[in-house]
Symmetry: C2
Subunit: 346 residues, 2 copies
């Protein structure tokens, strides 16, 4: 028998009381209960090893203490820090995480949202796919609060947690200008509708415009080969110098780094490299790579904290919270010119 056959009735019987009273006990309503009865129930629970069946509880209760978390790819470094952050709060607030992987596919995403709502999650934390905002109208009819990660989609029904990558990018670009880089080259994936991606590029455009400079760029696809990048960069460097290569798309950084093979010895003096999201290898590669760092763990914590506050009634309306980024200065941007070394909050 997979099911534990000791129910609230078993306990009530053993404690010589009613299941109502046991239920009260379980929910911490001790007022209507004598010291004596309480102890009998306690003993009965202990000897029977009784554990309440959560499904039954969910049935006529509002809350299941489950939080649905739907991410594009649970395996990448963004996601796993997010999950850790969420977990940090759920553990102390007694929630359970139900995990879904949308694989950046809005069909699967929708499927997961439906299933999770049906199984009774109290709320959702979702890193939405591109298409999601279109479905936004349905959010109000969803019935549960939802927190979006890194999305610009607003509605009356959803909270948001994001990072201010625009400011960070601007500061980084300014600092690099100050360090002596004169020319900028952007290697990036098509930002498409993704506002968070646009922020990263617009932050840099803003600075360059102010400095009266322009910025060459190459659009990367997920299947762009290192050779293609290398050719483009070679051609670019034939005409320019003191170039800062900016790679705002974090999954593209390894490919770019590989493509730069022949230029590595030019880093950081002739060519600088600025990426997004530090990982083990950006720190340990030689040269190590300067990156703009999003506070991902904190983002997860914030998202779950918001959800928890909404569910407990502490927070009435949907919230938007933007977190500041950090710049992790490493060897790939010229350290020998004046400027901060190490990590800097902005």
């Amino acid at each position: 028998m997979p099911e534990n056959s000791v129910t609230i009735n078993t306990v009530a019987q053993l404690a010589r009381t009613s299941k109502t009273t046991v239920s009260f006990y379980l929910n911490g309503k001790f007022e209507k209960m004598s010291e004596e009865t309480r102890r009998r129930i306690e003993r009965a629970i202990e000897t029977t090893r009784y554990r309440p069946n959560l499904a039954a509880r969910c049935l006529n209760r509002k809350r299941t203490k489950m939080a649905g978390v739907i991410l594009g790819d649970v395996a990448n470094s963004f996601s796993n820090q997010i999950v850790r952050g969420i977990e940090n709060i759920t553990l102390q607030e007694d929630y359970q995480i139900v995990l879904g992987n949308s694989n950046y596919d809005s069909q699967i995403e929708r499927k997961y949202i439906e299933r999770m709502v049906n199984m009774g999650v109290d709320g959702l934390i979702v890193q939405p796919t591109l298409q999601f905002p279109d479905v936004g109208k349905k959010l109000e009819t969803l019935g549960v609060p939802i927190v979006f990660l890194d999305s610009s989609a607003r509605s009356a029904a959803n909270s948001r947690v994001g990072t201010d990558s625009r400011t960070a990018t601007r500061k980084a670009a300014e600092a690099c200008l100050a360090r002596g880089y004169e020319d900028f080259l952007m290697l990036t994936a098509d930002p498409g509708q993704l506002s968070t991606r646009k922020d990263r590029t617009s932050g840099i455009s803003e600075v360059l415009e102010k400095a009266g400079k322009t910025c060459a760029s190459l659009l990367l696809r997920s299947d762009t080969k290192p050779d293609e990048i290398a050719a483009f960069v070679t051609e670019h460097l034939r005409l320019n110098r003191h170039t800062l290569i900016f790679v705002p798309t974090c999954w593209a950084l390894p490919t770019v780094y590989l493509a730069l093979g022949n230029f590595r010895n030019l880093i950081p003096d002739t060519v600088g490299l600025l990426g997004f999201d530090n990982t083990e290898w950006t720190r340990f590669s030689v040269p190590s790579i300067t990156t703009i760092v999003q506070p991902v763990y904190e983002e997860g914590r914030t998202a779950m904290r918001i959800l928890s506050d909404i569910l407990s009634g502490k927070q009435e309306k949907p919230v938007t919270r933007m977190l500041g980024c950090t710049i992790s200065w490493c060897e790939s941007t010229d350290l020998r010119l004046p400027g901060a070394a190490g990590s800097a909050a902005i």
Copy 2:
């Protein structure tokens, strides 16, 4: 109202039939139903946007289609590949993942196991903490099947999925001997009770014994500083040459790599470096690092496959399945001597 107020009764009413029939429909038992009725139910479900309440379903059904997954640290590269592998199966088999992070703490682990069983998960996949096997006797009374990851704990109640790192280590050591490394140095954390860690070191000892060699070693703690390692290695290299440094503890590899700063130019000619678990940075660092690779994604898939088979009755008894490792040959072991290049299954 957070709850969707359209129930099976709403549908039954609209379809002018009984909720029993609707329930049958929902569970695919069409035999007892006229074409006509079926269509009416279909339409009613569609117009009401009815979605069955999973909690109610769980109540008197054996299965909740939830699988509990408890890992030491959901954020590391081992875990997230595991989760991806599990997710790959759950998606097609219609299970939901309920995630827990034990933080390698057996108290938290136990708490999660209890909570998950109470909430009705059909089965568990657990990367057990060291202390867990002691609690092993309780497994039989748990009521749900459990699959252990990378653990030697056997009982009549649990299945296991692991990787054969011993064979892989042996093969790698043999290959390195053949490539000309004469001296071996092991930098490792205390294996303690962890049999999977012991396998990694015993694999190498076996080979060296056969070759009539011994192996110096330094025990690393989680707080060992790079300087300390550097000093030890310097001293060792003063007396030895053609040394292969073997780091079987994957979290220690970056620290060791950092500590080897001054010796990096000696790699791979004078000093070789062999690690465990390839990651982005072991591939992209210069020189890139040869590692023994566990098929982690496949491990996750296998674990969930086993669980699913047990739950569906396809599999009667607990299973143990060991997966073969791979060696990812990179620049840090002398490639210019004869031997395979690239990745090799063993």
